[in-house]
Amino acid sequence: AGEKATTAKPLIGVSIWSSTDTLGSQVKRMLDAAAKALDVDVMYVDQGHISERVTASAETLVAAGVDGIIICNSASAEMTSVINTANRNKVYTAQFFRVIDPVANPNEHKLAVSSPYYVGSVHEDEVDNGINLVRILCEKGNRKIALEGWEAGDATFLLRWEGYKKGIELWNAENPTDKAVLLDPQYGGTTSDTGRATAEAIINANPDIDALIVSGGGGDTLVGALAAIESLGLKGKIDVVSTDFLADLDEQLATGGMAAESGGHFCDPLFAFMMVYNAIKGNYKVPTDGYYEILFPYLYVASSEDYNAYAKYFVDELPYNDAELREMANMSFDQLKAAAERLSIEDVISRR
C-alpha cells in the first residue's frame, strides 16, 4: 500500500456500523466532503456492530487496497484482529467514537501502543458526558431517572451508563437528604418504533419517573421515545436528555419535549480521517510507544436559539468548508487536536 500513495490518489476505508442511519449518514456526508476537498477516495463498509463483521470489514477494506482505515468498532477486543490485519498489510488505522481502555483491555492497549500502523483514536469523554447530563437533570429537580439504551453490552453505552451512575453518586453525596435514583436500563434498539415501544414500556412500568435519558442509538431511538412521551400526554412532564440531535430539536426544546441535548459528534470521524490521511502522506510519524488521541467535545444545546445556530452551521451546511478542510489537512497533530477541541457553534461562527 505504501508505494501506491505516491503514485495514485490515496484510498481511505471507513468501517462503520451503518452509513445510512441518521448519525451514519451525517458522518458519511462529512467524510465525503473532506475526501472531495483533499482529492482522496473513500470506501465504506457497513458492519452493523456485529463483532465478526467488524473484523471482517477491516479485511475487506485491506483486500480492496486501501491505504488507511478509520473504524468504529463495537468491542475493544475486536481491535486485536483489526490492528493485526493493519500491521500485516501495512495499512494505517484509527478509531473513531471509540478508544481502547488501558485498564479494562490492557492487552489490546499494548498492541495498539506498539503498532506502527495504529495511528490513534478520536473519541468523546463518555463518562464525563454522562455525569454532565445527570447533573443537568438533577439540577432541574428530577429525582427518578429512567434510562433507555440501544444495544446491550455496547462499549459506548457501558461508558455512558457508568457516567450516569457516577453522576447520581456525586449528586447523592452532595445532597444526602434529597437523593436521586437511576433505574436499570432497558434497550430500545436503533429504530424509532422499537424506541417508542420500549419508552412506553418503561413509562407504563414506572409512571412516577420524572426524567428519561435516551442514551444514543443514532437518534432514531430518541425520536421514538419522544413520540411515546407525547402520546402518553406527558410531554413537558418528563424531562428528556440525550446524546443525539434531533430534527425538530428547536421545537422540542421550546415546548419542553427535551430538556437538554449533547451531540454534534458526527465531526469526530473527520479528525480520525485527517490523522490517517497525514499518516499515509508521511506527515505524522506513528509512534511505536504510543498513539495519537483526541478527546472530542460534545456540543451541549439547551435552548432553541442554541439549536437554531447549530442547525445553521452544522446541519444546513457543514461546519468546515473546502478551504478549511484543506487547511486542516496540513495541520500538525497538535494543531489538529486543538482544532477538534475548539469545535463549537461559536467556533464555526468565528470562522464564517
Binding site: 451503518s18 452509513s19 445510512t20 442511519d21 441518521t22 449518514s25 457497513d46 458492519q47 452493523g48 463483521r53 446491550a152 433505574l183 436499570d184 436500563p185 432497558q186 434497550y187 430500545g188 436503533t190 429504530t191 424509532s192 418504533d193 422499537t194 424506541g195 417508542r196 415501544a197 420500549t198 412506553e200 414500556a201 418503561i202 407504563n204 412500568a205 414506572n206 409512571p207 443514532g218 437518534g219 432514531d220 425520536v223 421514538g224 419522544l226 413520540a227 402520546s231 402518553l232 434531533l246 430534527a247 425538530d248 421545537e251 442547525a311 446541519v315 444546513d316
Partner: protein, 321 residues
C-alpha cells in the same frame, strides 16, 4: 355429553377461550408479581396500541403462509414503503404519506409475486434476494429526502396515525378487510385449498399461479398499511442495510403463527390480533418487573414455541419438513 365436549373443543368458542385464557394467564402472572405498574386498564390500552401494527403485518403474512410460502422481504418493504411515504408527504401531506406507503407496498408485492411466479424460484430464496435489493433501494430513497433529518416525520400536522383514534381506525379497517377477504371472497378459500393440496386445487380448476401472485400482492398491501402505522408510530424510519431489516419480519410472523395455530378454530384474524397483544403484554410485564429487555427475546421465543407445540403439532408419522 362427551360428544358435546369434543364438539366444543373444536369450536370457535374454545379457540377464544384458549386465547383469552392465555392472555389472562400472562396478565395475572405479571399482575401478581407487579401489582402497581402493570396491567391496569389504561396500560392495557397502551399495550394494545403498540401491538396492532404488528398484527396488521401478521394478517398480511397469513395469506401466503397458509399457502406454504414465505417472504423474507417484509422488513425491507416496511422500510422502503415508509421512506417513500415520508418522501411524498413532504409534498403532498397525508395523501403522499398514505398513498406512498400503500402503493409502494403493493407495488413491491406485485414485483415479488411476479418474480416468484415467473422465475419459479422458491419464495424463501427469491425474497432473500429481493430483501437485499429493497434495503439498498431504501438507502437511495432516503437520500432523495430534502429534510435535514431524512426519513423522519417532523411535521406535527401529519401524525394522526401516531395515536388513537386514527391508528385504531386504520388497523381495525385492515383486520376487517382481512376478515372480509377470508370470509367473503373466494381468496381465503383458494389460499387454504392451495395450501392443503396444490395438485387437487389445480384439478378443481383453480389458477394456482394467479392466486399465489395475488397472495403476494395482498401480503405487501398489508405490509404497506403496517408501514404507515410503523412510520407514524415511531415518527420516522431508518434506512438499514446489511440484512438488518430482517429483524422486522419476525414480530408480524409471530402473530401469523398464532393465526395458523388457531386456524382450526376458524378465527385466524382474532388469533393474530390477540396473539400480538399477548406478546406485547409479556414484553411490558418483563419491563414492569425490571427484567432487562434483553431477556425478552428469550421469553418471546419460549412462549411461541410452547404455543406452537400445543396447537400446531403434526400427527405421528406425518411428513413435516
Amino acid at each position: 355429553m362427551n360428544e358435546t365436549i369434543s364438539k366444543f373443543k373444536r369450536s370457535k368458542y374454545f379457540g377464544y377461550a384458549l386465547l383469552f385464557g392465555l392472555a389472562l394467564f400472562f396478565w395475572a402472572f405479571f399482575k401478581i408479581l407487579s401489582p402497581h405498574n402493570f396491567g391496569t386498564s389504561k396500560l392495557m390500552a397502551n399495550y394494545l396500541q403498540t401491538s396492532i401494527q404488528y398484527a396488521v403485518g401478521g394478517c398480511g403474512f397469513y395469506f401466503i403462509v397458509v399457502m406454504g410460502l414465505f417472504d423474507m422481504s417484509i422488513g425491507a418493504n416496511i422500510v422502503l414503503s415508509s421512506l417513500v411515504g415520508v418522501l411524498l408527504s413532504r409534498q403532498f401531506g397525508y395523501y403522499g404519506l398514505i398513498l406512498g406507503c400503500l402503493l409502494c407496498g403493493t407495488l413491491i408485492g406485485s414485483f415479488n409475486g411476479f418474480l416468484y411466479t415467473r422465475l419459479r424460484i422458491p419464495s424463501m430464496i427469491v425474497t432473500v434476494g429481493l430483501m437485499l435489493v429493497l434495503e439498498s433501494v431504501a438507502a437511495y430513497v432516503v437520500k432523495l429526502d430534502p429534510a435535514g433529518f431524512p426519513g423522519k416525520l417532523t411535521d406535527p400536522n401529519i401524525l394522526a396515525f401516531n395515536h388513537a383514534p386514527w391508528n385504531y381506525i386504520v388497523a381495525v379497517s385492515a383486520f376487517l378487510l382481512m376478515g372480509f377477504i377470508l370470509r367473503f371472497t373466494k381468496l381465503g378459500t383458494y389460499f387454504n385449498a392451495i395450501g392443503s393440496n396444490e395438485f387437487v386445487a389445480k384439478s378443481m380448476g383453480i389458477n394456482v399461479e394467479k392466486y399465489k401472485f395475488i397472495g403476494f400482492v395482498l401480503l405487501h398491501f398489508f405490509v404497506g398499511i403496517m408501514a404507515l402505522l410503523t412510520v407514524s408510530y415511531g415518527r420516522g424510519m431508518l434506512a438499514v442495510t446489511g440484512m438488518e431489516s430482517m429483524g422486522r419480519n419476525f414480530k408480524p410472523l409471530m402473530g401469523t403463527f398464532f393465526g395458523v395455530a388457531f386456524k382450526k378454530y376458524g378465527m385466524p384474524v382474532s388469533a393474530i390480533v390477540i396473539g400480538e397483544f399477548i406478546i406485547t403484554l409479556i414484553f411490558n410485564g418483563l419491563v414492569a418487573l425490571n427484567v432487562p429487555t434483553t431477556i425478552n427475546d428469550f421469553v418471546t421465543g419460549a412462549v411461541l414455541l410452547i404455543i406452537v407445540t400445543l396447537t400446531n403439532r403434526g400427527a405421528r408419522g406425518s411428513v413435516v419438513k
